[in-house]
Amino acid sequence: MGEKLDVKQGTLALMILRTLDVLGPLHGYGIARRIEETSRNRLTLNYGTLYPALLKLEQEGFIAAEWRQSENNRRAKFYALTAAGRKQLARETREWHQTADLIAAFLAPRRGGETP
């Protein structure tokens, strides 16, 4: 297992939205699993991080929650992307790419070939 990272401020919401976009309606455990797997276990999410973020997204109207039977017949609260959430995901994805490009440009090796 490599170095463990904390979830960066603001990125968790994007990860959750993206997860729900790819996998469809999912419960909290499933979302956590998926994010940890996607990060190849470099990220760990405890409940105290995950559930407030889910609630915040729900309050903002980007996701909706519903109690349902899970695949192995357990009752669980499932979160699904709303129309607003889909739009928000597109917007945040675009912004994230722009930011990433910008940071990458800043961190690019200098012309002289030296590394900072």
């Binding site: 455990y29 956590a32 409940y47 105290g48 559930y51 609630l55 729900e58 903002e60 357990r74």
Partner: protein
């Protein structure tokens, strides 16, 4: 939008927390179970699987807490929790809470009530447009009744033409008219105004229109604008009033509008009319004679004008008038004009009294706050263990401070609310009281500003309370806890603060008591003042049989005989009532002035150049008047039935006038006469009259003023301009009022009969404002003393309980009970002496400002000061004695074991 939506959701979360907590718990449990199941699937034993899942979760409770923080608004919730906690903890110390809330309610209530009066009467901007640009002109001379002699029409025009600082002059002439309504005749006080009046005053109508320049002059219809107050009071706010006509004694007048609510000065007015309502006001005499002064002036400053500039200009214009018309300005009387802001003129009478009441109320608040601070300090000591535990569990200083602040806010706001409730009751009483002083009294109410004032005071007190308490400081928990709460409670700083507060309470109480004492002494002195009358069992009934409405003296003279006949009939019938001892008739009731003063000269007597010519109140009296009114005859004779039209002119003068005119020589048989420029405007002859009698002085200008000089003429020898029946009863004069009024109504059905008062009532009315002053300040003073006594007893009792251990040791080492008692008494006594000394000093310095409110007692009256100090000392000693007795009863064995 997004922020708003989530804010709404969070706010909703504050209220739905319990339901959602179950939901959250179920969700987290489900998560935990899924994770455990996954771990088991991977091959872990169930216990280990569950343990790992729990570790990964980071703690269910912590998670739930984090979600809750996101769900609601955490700070609201924690404050709500603090409030709940505060209420619970205050409910546990019920006695403390009650004392604090009631004490604060008294302080805040008194201040809120007085402040609302001050705001309405003195501070609030006038309802007039740009009301701060209005100034009032006052024309004065020396001598009684000379404070405001009004202006004549020529004077008004000189001022209007000569003073550039004025944009306009509003003139109004106070006048009385009688409106004949179906059920009764109604006397109305009106102002006769010129067309520009409302424009200059900056007032608007709420109904109809106001007068305008086209309503000026003769030959126009009579019109009337009702004041808002009269419209509500008399016409019940009838919206259809405009266009109605009122029947007057002469002619009719049409109501053209209703004025916005506005204070009328100097007297209340029921309506404002154009000049044509009174033919007299358009007569040559009114318009051309410089000494015929019947007009008040309010001026509006020009945009570039200032009060100072106006003063200078008015002074120079007035000096020119005095130069050009010497006969109208007797140099000995010191004619002068002053210019004051209209708002200040309106507040003038109330200012001193109200600020004194405000100061007294503030003192009560200071004392009650000091008491509450003391109580809080003591309670704080008992709470120290609790605070230490809280600090040890991680509450920071700021958090503890907030806890205290919330608790104190709950206390003081409860006090504030109770205080406001008390103020609502008090304000009504104060408004009635303020009626006597200010035409703005009807503006007194509890409005947002006064409520904010009460709230502000409550919050300020809460902050004060929260910051005097010592808190366990970080890094010192160890020493605090090790020391144990009891030792910490004895910090020198806190004890010093408590003692200083007690000293301050005593000092402030003494100041208040001194004020109350001086005002009460004033009342006693006033009630000891002899009115000059032999009896007060006298009923007075003014009956105005003559109407001046048409301003026609010829007509009045022609009807004079008939009028006198009616008076005779009235007196005959009243005399036959059971209980009546005598009935007299005169122009003026006893203890009142006639309102008309004229200059008097005596034959063969000249006065030093520059000295004011003596003036006397002009009155008439019939032969029975003096005996019925109880005015003692000192020399010569009273009038007789032979003193009638056609016989020699005679007068009776009072002692003041006799002294002024004859300087101790016998006035009987000497001749006197009315004199001065103005006599020719009156129906009184300037011929010589012989003095036939001298009567005693009566306090006609109020019990607190010198008796004014008076000259009586026989009622029968002059035209009857007005009449007052003076009815002497064997007992219960007040009981005759309704029967006498009925008789007057029968004989003169179109005449309003008002102000039927006994002499005792007239006297009482003249001292009523002072009595209320004295009562209010005494009330505040007693409150202060009670609160201060509770304060001193409480602090000593606390000191005793904190020193129980020490006292136990002293007693076991041989100190007897008396010694212990003396020790505690000594402790209280020192505070008492210090407080008394400071208080007497403060009262000595402060009482000077009250000079204007006192009568018959000097501001530094030693008797009052000694009495006040003795009273306070006595109460203080009693307050010290109770805890001292308790200290003496301490059982040394128990005391030492209890530590």
């Amino acid at each position: 939008m997004r922020q708003f939506r989530s804010a709404l959701a969070r706010l909703a979360g504050v209220f739905t927390r319990y339901r959602e907590d179950d939901d959250l718990r179920a969700e987290l449990e489900a998560h935990l179970e899924m994770e455990t199941a996954e771990n088991i699937r991977r091959g872990l034993p169930p216990d280990e699987a569950r343990r790992r899942a729990r570790v990964a979760s980071g703690g269910l409770t912590a998670a739930a807490e984090a979600v809750r923080a996101q769900r609601g608004l955490p700070w609201i919730e924690s404050i709500a929790a603090d409030v709940r906690y505060a209420v619970r903890s205050l409910r546990h110390s019920r006695a403390f809470t009650t004392v604090v809330v009631v004490t604060l309610a008294l302080g805040i209530g008194a201040n809120t009530a007085i402040f609302s009066v001050i705001r309405a009467v003195l501070l609030k901007p006038l309802p007039h447009r740009d009301g701060d640009r209005l100034v009032y002109l006052r024309h004065s001379v020396d001598g009684p009744g000379g404070n405001s002699i009004l202006f004549s029409v020529p004077e008004v025009s000189d001022l209007r033409d000569g003073v550039r600082s004025f944009a306009g002059l509003a003139e109004y002439s106070p006048w009385t008219i009688t409106a004949q309504e179906k059920s009764a005749a109604v006397r109305m006080n009106v102002g006769l105004v010129t067309g520009n009046f409302f424009d200059v005053m900056g007032l608007a109508p709420v109904l109809g229109r106001l007068t305008r320049p086209s309503d000026d002059g003769p030959g126009v219809p009579s019109v009337m604008v009702l004041t808002h107050d009269f419209w509500i009071r008399h016409f019940g706010g009838d919206p259809g009033i405009v266009g109605k006509t009122l029947r007057l004694d002469a002619g009719t007048v049409t109501v053209i509008g209703v004025l916005q609510p506005a204070p009328m000065f100097p007297d209340r007015m029921d309506a404002l009319c154009n000049m044509v309502v009174s033919p007299h006001h358009l007569s040559a005499q009114m318009v051309h004679v410089r000494s015929h002064r019947m007009t008040e002036i309010v001026a509006r400053l020009a945009p570039n004008g200032s009060v100072e500039g106006a003063r200078t200009e008015v002074a120079s214009v007035y000096a020119r008038m005095q130069r050009d018309y010497k006969e109208a300005y007797d140099p000995g009387s010191h004619y002068r004009v002053s210019v004051v802001r209209f708002k200040e003129a309106i507040g003038e009478q109330a200012r001193l009294t109200l600020w004194m009441l405000m100061a007294a109320a503030a003192f009560v608040l200071i004392i009650s706050t000091a008491n509450v601070v003391n109580l809080t300090l003591m309670r704080g000591v008992r709470r120290e263990p609790e605070l230490i535990v809280r600090a040890a569990l991680g509450a920071g200083v700021a958090r503890l401070r907030r806890l205290l602040l919330v608790e104190n806010l709950v206390l003081t706001i409860a006090g504030g609310i109770l205080g406001i409730a008390a103020a609502i009751g008090g304000i009504r009483l104060l408004a009635t009281f303020a009626q006597r002083y200010s035409p703005r009294a009807n503006e007194i109410r509890l409005d947002v500003t006064t409520l904010l004032f009460a709230l502000g005071v409550s919050v300020a007190v809460a902050f004060l309370l929260s910051f005097v308490a010592a808190l366990p400081r970080e890094g010192r928990f160890g020493s605090w806890m090790a020391a144990g709460a009891r030792r910490i409670s004895g910090t020198v700083r806190r004890q010093r603060l408590q003692r200083a507060l007690v000293v301050a309470q005593i000092a402030v109480s003494v100041v208040l008591l001194a004020g109350a004492g001086l005002l009460t002494r004033t009342m006693v002195e006033l009630s000891d003042v002899h009115t000059g009358l032999r009896t007060e069992e006298v009923l007075t009934m003014p009956v105005q049989l003559v109407s001046f409405a048409d301003g026609n003296f010829q007509r009045i003279m022609a009807s004079d005989a008939g009028v006198k006949n009616d008076y005779d009939r009235m007196m005959r019938e009243v005399r036959s009532l059971r209980g009546v001892v005598g009935v007299g008739l005169g122009s003026t009731p006893p203890l009142r002035g006639s309102g008309t003063g004229l200059e008097v000269k005596a034959e063969d007597k000249t006065f030093a150049v520059g000295a004011a010519t003596p003036r006397a109140d002009v009155r008439t009296a019939d032969p029975e008047y003096f005996r019925a009114a109880g005015i003692p005859l000192l020399k010569g004779r009273a009038f007789e039935t032979t003193d009638r039209l056609g016989t020699a002119r005679v007068v009776v003068i009072n002692q003041v006038l006799a002294e002024k005119l004859f300087h101790g020589e016998d006035p009987i048989g000497r001749r006197v006469a009315w004199t001065g420029d103005i006599v020719r405007l009156t129906p009184f002859s300037p011929d010589w009259r012989t003095v036939v009698g001298v009567v005693g002085d009566t306090k006609d200008a109020g019990l607190d003023a010198e008796a004014p000089p008076v000259m009586f003429m026989p009622f029968a020898q002059e035209i009857a301009l007005g009449g007052v029946l003076v009815i002497r009863a064997d007992s219960n004069a007040a009981g005759l009022a309704s029967a006498a009024t009925r008789i007057a109504h029968q004989i003169a059905p179109t005449v309003p009969i008002e102000n039927v008062l006994t002499v005792a009532q007239i006297k009482d009315e003249s001292v009523a404002p002072r009595r209320l002053n004295a009562e209010l300040i005494s009330l505040f003073g007693s409150l202060a003393v009670i609160i201060a006594a509770v304060g001193i007893a409480g602090v000593l009792a606390f000191s005793v309980s904190a020193r129980t251990n020490e006292i136990g040791i002293r007693m076991s080492l041989g100190a007897d009970r008396g010694r212990v008692q003396r020790m505690i008494l000594g402790e209280g006594g020192t505070l008492l002496v210090l407080g008394l000394a400071l208080g007497v000093g403060g009262a000595y310095v402060g009482s000077g400002v009250m000079r204007g409110l006192l009568f018959g007692v000097a501001p530094h009256d030693p008797t009052t000061f000694v009495g006040v100090a003795a009273t306070m000392a006595l109460i203080g000693i009693v307050a010290c004695w109770i805890p001292a007795l308790r200290a003496a009863r301490i059982d040394p064995a128990t005391a030492m074991r209890s530590t």
